[in-house]
Amino acid sequence: MSQNEESSAVIQVEGVHKSFGDLHVLKSCELTVRAGEVAVLVGPSGSGKSTLLRCINQLEEPTAGRVLVDGVVQGYRAEPLPDGRWQKLRPAEIAAQRSRIGMVFQRFHLFPHLTALGNVMEAPVQVRGLPKAAAEAKARELLERVGLADRADHYPSELSGGQQQRVAIARALAMDPELMLFDEPTSALDPELVSEVLTVLKDLAADGMTMVVVTHEMGFAREVADQVVFMDEGRILESGTAEQVIDHPESERLKGFLASVL
């Protein structure tokens, strides 16, 4: 993808800190992802990549700082109260913000009691109130897009890991998200199944989807990322194009990390 400096920022992470009790897992994180961009977060485990990703769709609440999606503050009213505090949004308002952001998990988290088709139809019917017939037609289309049209009536337990992850991607796409978050989407897969999931991700990127991907797949980062972000111990240490970050690392930490994964 060519980087378009003109396009507007879809995600703005501004000075985000996150602590779990005494554990300070995110420190002053700044990140901007523009429309159609693919940002890849890399770094050793425990560096805070997943937590940062989860702050974007409010599965974690930042302890300090703000997250904006399409310029809208996530989780709080746009303006602070007269006393300087921020008014939290009601659960329904938070759900509405989340419904515009697709998320794919490392362990898929498909609904085991629903078929692949049922998994993809569930949110459009329950959240958007789409009629069943329309939701089914759309779900079948999406399953076809991820190459699983013939698995629509299978339960997740009857699918391979790679197939399950592709259903999970179709499930997220069914809500017509403006951006997609991927939390180590291939880490739980057998090696021979990784490429089928990465292919779907590459197709999505080529279609212009705004994406943030946490991954250890450096080849994927090099090929698809507009922006590679290296995190270590809760901080964003380096970010830039794949060429800058992967091929010309500056910090010793990143050099050491790349040496261990490449």
Partner: protein, 332 residues
């Protein structure tokens, strides 16, 4: 193994199953001796023969009386009332229990407290005592008044008109059962992986939708077996409703006949046979419920993502690195 023929048509285009004739020199095994099976079989056979002799020859059992009263109108009506009590009080109990279990998980501390207090009281008092209490409810609370406290009455009605002995029995049994079921349902809800909630939240579902569409259907798989157990327990607990007093259930009916005839033993047998028969029917119902809520979780196909025996094997087969499917007999 090896029972499938060489030309099994079901195999389709998959690599053909290895037939035993292709395996050189298969092991001809002789089963290890198991004398315990035979010894226990003989002992049990002797005991059963003794039991049958006892049942047939013992005059006290009065099988004639059993046969006469097995389909007696009062007994059959008693069966009907007992079933009705069981079903209604289990429905009430389940609804109350689901509410209490959801309240117990709530972020609202008031609801959590109410749920805790309900379970504490209704689980802590013997069901017999509770049934007596509900029987006396119309004495304790003769009139229910809806109005402003210390102000005018808006509406008032007599409890005696509303709370018949039957409904007192249903409420007594149902509220007691609800306290036990609440804990069963709560553990069922807790058994669902938190990833399910996260995935649902990420899709923008509300807490209510997540509970109704995602958590409860999965929790049912864990809840149904103990729920079946509790239903069978309830079937027998209904014999306590004479504490209300409600006097039409199966145990009361057979006891009444027995007292009239001065023959308690054959009528105990009548009651026992009916309770066993109803339990059998309930067990069949439980089987179908378990199958319904177990869909997608079938034991043959492990539900753990990425660890499925079949999917892993399918992937290995697709990779084409092994000449044959090593599990040709396992059709999933």
């Amino acid at each position: 193994m090896g029972q499938r023929g060489r030309n099994d048509p079901d195999r389709g285009s998959e690599p053909p199953a290895v037939s035993t004739t292709q395996i050189p020199d298969p092991i001809r095994a002789k089963a290890a001796p198991r004398p315990g099976t035979w010894i226990s079989a003989v002992i049990v056979a002797l005991l059963v023969a003794g039991l049958i002799t006892f049942l047939v020859t013992n005059p006290v059992l009065e099988w004639g009386t059993v046969a006469t009263y097995l389909l007696d109108v009062k007994v059959v009506q008693g069966v009907g009332w007992t079933l009705l009590l069981t079903v209604l009080s289990m429905i009430l109990g389940t609804v109350v229990a689901l509410t209490a279990a959801i309240m117990r998980r709530s972020e609202n501390p008031v609801l959590r407290g109410v749920s805790w207090a309900y379970i504490f009281v209704f689980r802590g008092i013997p069901v017999y005592t509770q049934l007596v209490f509900w029987g006396l409810f119309t004495v304790i609370v003769p009139k229910i008044v809806i109005g402003v406290p210390f102000g005018p009455e808006l509406l008032s009605f007599s409890t005696r008109d509303l709370l018949t002995a039957f409904w007192a029995a249903v409420i007594g049994l149902g509220l007691n059962e609800g306290a036990y079921l609440a804990e069963i349902i709560r553990s069922g809800l807790n058994s669902v992986d938190t990833g399910q909630t996260e995935a649902s939240k990420a899709l923008g579902m509300s807490n209510g939708t997540i509970l109704r569409r995602i958590i409860v259907p999965q929790a049912m798989r864990v809840i149904v077996p103990p729920l079946g157990n509790e239903t069978i327990g309830m079937l027998k607990t209904t014999s306590l409703v004479l504490a209300v007093p409600f006097t039409l259930d199966l145990t009361f009916a057979t006891n009444g006949i027995a007292n009239k005839l001065f023959t308690p033993i054959p009528l105990l047998i009548v009651a026992a046979l009916w309770y066993l028969a109803i339990t059998s029917v309930l067990m069949v119902g439980q089987h179908y419920l378990e199958r319904y809520f177990g869909r997608g979780f079938d034991a043959r196909t492990p539900a753990r993502p990425g660890r499925g025996g079949r999917s892993r094997q399918a992937a290995v087969n697709r990779a084409g690195t092994t000449p044959h499917d090593p599990l040709p007999e396992v059709e999933l």
